[in-house]
């Protein structure tokens, strides 16, 4: 809903009072509409006439300048508030002398960050268009929900009935107490595309730039993959049959442009190739793994691998190890091998067990020295880099790698920032040759702290043999580490992961 045009004298008066040179694009917008409002939630894009809440940009600016007069430097003179956001945030025009200036997000509780505010849109006209898009999307989402509630009330649909992939359904996507996105989607069987009937993406200054768009892309593309689509997305104006397409939402289009995915925003489509690229760039992994995913060698499996990580089946460290060490990583991560083909399946189990052991160590390092390892990504105390080489060794890097409690024998692994690692994983009766092999692999890297990671079974082997193994490793200046997992548990975990990977897409 738009307000009436603001009179020219009111606009000029505002400029004169504050000594501002109003940018023509915003001035023109104010001359066409006094404000915009989203009726369901009462969002307002402020102009120079009082919006339904009674607020306008002039009043807001006056309030900000008055309320922040104690703040050093006061409220920045080059900002004009145009939208109140949740969590005490504001969207403001940043007067940089251009005709169509950028819009930035500021946090009222963080005056120190005002000078370096996060960019919400490159131009006000884009911001206003995005406001309208999001307002329409919210109206469609609310309309869909009311329709679904009515269907339940009238008995057309059971309240607890889970929607099928090709049913329209709404998601509210949250991180802790922040709504990142509201999405209405379905898999369109006729055109083999994921239809998005409404897509609202949050913009909060406390979130990293593009973080909401990345999360939403991950959700949409994972959903598309799971439903059997080729990853392509189509944005529609609501869920009614025959609904026309709408442009790709600005946050997604901006993110796609930044990560080099080739999409035409106005077409409302994200084609399969661009979607694959977007999936790879959106998934939360380190640079090294992302480079591997971009490579042509995993092109055919990239979507399956990204989905495996997005769904929590595979940890990024496990994928990194599989891609580096497995002879057939794509098949491994999709769980293709028939478990009855034991000769091949046992090799897959060993590959996954190695990946599990390394991932376990990465989680331990991420928890930090003495960390109480509540190891969600968000709980990680320090970032960890894992670089997996083709020679069956890997490098673990972090600010502090403290693994004394995993060390065997009197020689405790020193605290370091970088450890060269090999894995000795085998059945308990094969540990000795497995350790010998692993020690030989890391022996040459004399510049690094070197360690061989074993399953916990090492603690159960005969004492004299264990002491001998530790002593032999020590002679090569290699430390033996015992992970918390025992072989039987590792095997069960590995088989379970392979089984879930086989049936992930249905």
């Amino acid at each position: 809903m738009a307000g009436p045009p603001a009179p020219g004298e009111r606009i000029r008066a505002f400029a004169d009072v504050y000594g501002l040179a109003l940018p023509p694009a915003w001035q023109h917008w104010c001359e066409e509409q006094g404000w915009l409002e989203q009726p369901d939630e009462g969002w307002e894009l402020l102009g120079l006439l009082p919006a339904p809440s009674g607020m306008d940009a002039a009043a807001m600016l006056a309030g900000m300048r008055l309320a922040n007069r104690e703040v050093p430097g006061g409220f920045p003179a080059d900002l004009i508030p145009v939208e109140r956001l949740p969590e005490r945030q504001l969207a403001c025009l940043k007067l940089d002398g251009s005709d169509d200036p950028p819009v930035v997000l500021i946090d009222l509780d963080d005056p120190g960050g005002w000078a370096d505010a996060q960019l919400a849109a490159d131009r006000f006209s884009e911001f206003a268009a995005e406001f309208t898009e999001q307002a329409n999307a919210l109206r469609e989402a609310m309309g869909f929900l009311r329709h679904a509630q009515r269907a339940v009330r009238t008995g057309k649909r059971a309240a607890g009935q889970a929607p099928r992939p090709d049913d329209w359904r709404a998601y509210r996507f949250c991180s802790q107490n922040v709504v990142i996105a509201i999405i209405v989607l379905r898999h369109n069987r006729d055109d083999n595309v994921l239809d998005v009937g409404a897509c609202l993406v949050t913009a909060l200054s406390r979130l990293a730039q593009d973080a909401p768009a990345r999360a939403v892309c991950t959700l949409l593309l994972a959903e598309s993959y799971r439903a059997g689509g080729d990853l392509s997305l189509r944005f529609l104006q609501g869920t009614r049959p025959g609904a026309g397409h709408v442009p790709v939402p600005w946050p997604i289009a901006r993110w796609a442009a930044r990560c080099g995915a080739d999409i035409d925003r106005s077409s409302g489509m994200v084609p399969a190739d661009a979607a694959r690229r977007l999936f790879i760039e959106s998934i939360q992994v380190g640079d090294h793994l992302r480079r591997r995913l971009r490579s042509d060698s995993v092109r055919a499996e990239a979507a399956a691998i990204c989905y495996g990580m997005a769904s929590g089946l595979w940890a990024p460290a496990e994928v990194e190890v599989a891609l580096g060490w497995s002879a057939h990583p794509g098949r491994l991560l999709r769980g293709v091998t028939d478990p009855l083909d034991r000769a091949c399946f046992s090799a897959d189990l060993l590959d996954v067990r190695s990946a599990l052991l390394v991932a376990s160590l990465v989680r331990r390092v991420a928890a930090g020295p003495g960390g109480q390892a509540r190891l969600d990504v968000e709980d990680a105390a320090q970032p960890v880099d894992l670089i997996v080489g083709d020679d069956e060794t890997c490098i673990v890097q972090a600010a502090v790698i403290e693994l004394a409690d995993w060390s065997l024998g009197p020689r405790v692994i020193p605290s370091a920032g970088r450890v060269r690692l090999a894995v000795a994983d085998a059945e308990p009766d094969q540990l000795r040759p497995a350790i010998d092999e692993a020690v030989a692999r890391v022996r040459g890297y004399a510049a690094d702290v070197r360690a061989v990671l074993c399953p916990r079974d090492l603690l159960a082997v005969e004492r004299s043999l264990r002491d001998r193994l530790v002593a032999e490793a020590a002679r090569a200046d290699v430390y033996l580490l015992a992970a918390p997992e025992y072989t039987p548990g590792l095997t069960i975990q590995a088989a379970d992961k392979l089984s879930r990977a086989r049936t992930a897409r249905q």
């Binding site: 006729d190 083999n192 002879a327 999709r334 478990p339 046992s346 590959d351 094969q430 069960i492």
Partner: protein, 373 residues
């Protein structure tokens, strides 16, 4: 890249059926693993069955490492390559081979091995045959005995490529089916035309037809039915489900029902229970139990299970005098394809005069093209 090694162990047993004492339980664990393999032949295994098989194989390998004698070592990748080459025997990648099968397996393997390895395996096969020993393959971090060298394919493909059939494909392209069952639904007609083009392309190139994400189950069934009717020579189309699993190629024989209404009572069924409960009053029962179909397995396995179930049930239904089955067809492509695959298999085997009349739900039930001998 990790080359996972497998040691080929000459294992004296006791193997099942030998009647020898079994102090370390070797015979028991082999029997347990073989039992699961036998079950797998009757349909896909449950997770619990797979766990039992896995546990049995771990025990077999552990005992064999203690009591067996290393013959040679090869890589798991080599076994994969052998399997993918299309020339490998059944159970080529099994973890053990009892005495009656071990010499043949070793000889088949020896034909793939380069250099001295072939002779080593041939001698081992003779020795095994003379002593009634079997073979166990155990993963090992280091090679034991000679390391066998086998040719590595440039790319190990999971499924052998199908045979391109441009002649059959051209027949498909000459025909423009009218898709009468979908007269009331333009989207379905469009999907059917699209699927028809995909079908022709799949047959022409020998590539699989993707199933499950694009055309709906009713469009798919109708297209396969039309294809079956126009095929003038034995052809088949590869089926690739959305989960990446490939089912057996779907046969497309000449199949036009001679009698549209079989004599005797008809049976009206839905495809799968507990999915569209509003249909309960319209049908006499459901062909598949949801609980048995919707378990954790690949779509190709579900397809195979449904085909086997259908063959079994058709025999029962036919012997009860039913000559016409009216199928109110609902979704889940592996079950749909499994049903028709089982139907074709049973019809071909028995030559019975049974007709299946599908009904699709396109704004109400719409009769599809009937299937039968």
């Amino acid at each position: 890249m990790t080359e996972r090694l497998l040691v080929v162990l000459d294992m004296p047993g006791p193997w099942p059926g030998s009647g020898q004492p079994d102090p370390d339980g070797f015979c028991d664990v082999v029997t347990a693993a073989l039992t699961e393999e036998r079950r797998a032949a009757g349909g896909p295994l449950s997770q619990e069955d797979l766990r039992r098989h896995d546990a049995a194989c771990i025990a077999i390998e552990r005992i064999a490492r203690r009591r067996g004698t290393a013959v040679a070592t090869l890589s798991a990748q080599a076994i994969r390559g052998w399997q993918a080459s299309g020339g490998a025997p059944a159970r080529a990648a099994a973890g053990f081979h009892p005495p009656d099968a071990a010499p043949d397996w070793l000889r088949a393997l020896s034909r793939q091995v380069q250099g001295e390895g072939g002779a080593i395996l041939e001698r081992a096969a003779q020795r095994l045959q003379a002593r009634r020993h079997g073979v166990v393959l155990s993963p090992s971090p280091v090679p034991e005995g000679p390391l066998l060298v086998m040719p590595q394919p440039a790319e190990v493909t999971w499924h052998a490529r199908g045979n391109p059939d441009p002649v059959a494909a051209s027949a498909f392209r000459l025909i423009d089916p009218q898709w009468e069952p979908f007269a009331g639904s333009e989207p379905r007609k469009a999907a059917a035309r699209r699927l028809w083009r995909q079908l022709a392309a799949a047959i022409e190139t020998g590539e699989p037809l993707p199933v499950g994400a694009g055309a709906r189950h009713d469009v798919l069934a109708e297209a396969l039915r039309v294809a079956a009717a126009i095929t003038t020579r034995a052809a088949s189309v590869r089926i690739l489900y959305v989960d990446g699993s490939e089912a057996e190629p779907f046969p497309l024989p000449i199949l036009v029902p001679r009698r549209l209404a079989g004599h005797g009572p008809a049976l009206r069924v839905g495809l799968m229970s507990m999915r569209h409960t509003t249909m309960d009053a319209d049908v006499g029962g459901y062909w598949f139990r949801n609980r048995l179909v919707s378990t954790s397995r690949t779509h190709a396995e579900t397809d195979a299970f449904c085909a086997a179930e259908t063959v079994r049930k058709l025999a029962d239904v036919y012997s009860a005098g039913i000559r016409r089955v009216e199928l109110l067809q609902t979704g889940f492509e592996p079950a749909v394809l499994g049903f028709y695959r089982g139907l074709l298999r049973w019809l071909r085997t028995t030559g019975a005069d049974l007709v299946v009349q599908p009904e699709y739900l396109v704004r109400g039930p719409v009769p599809g093209t009937p299937w039968g001998n």
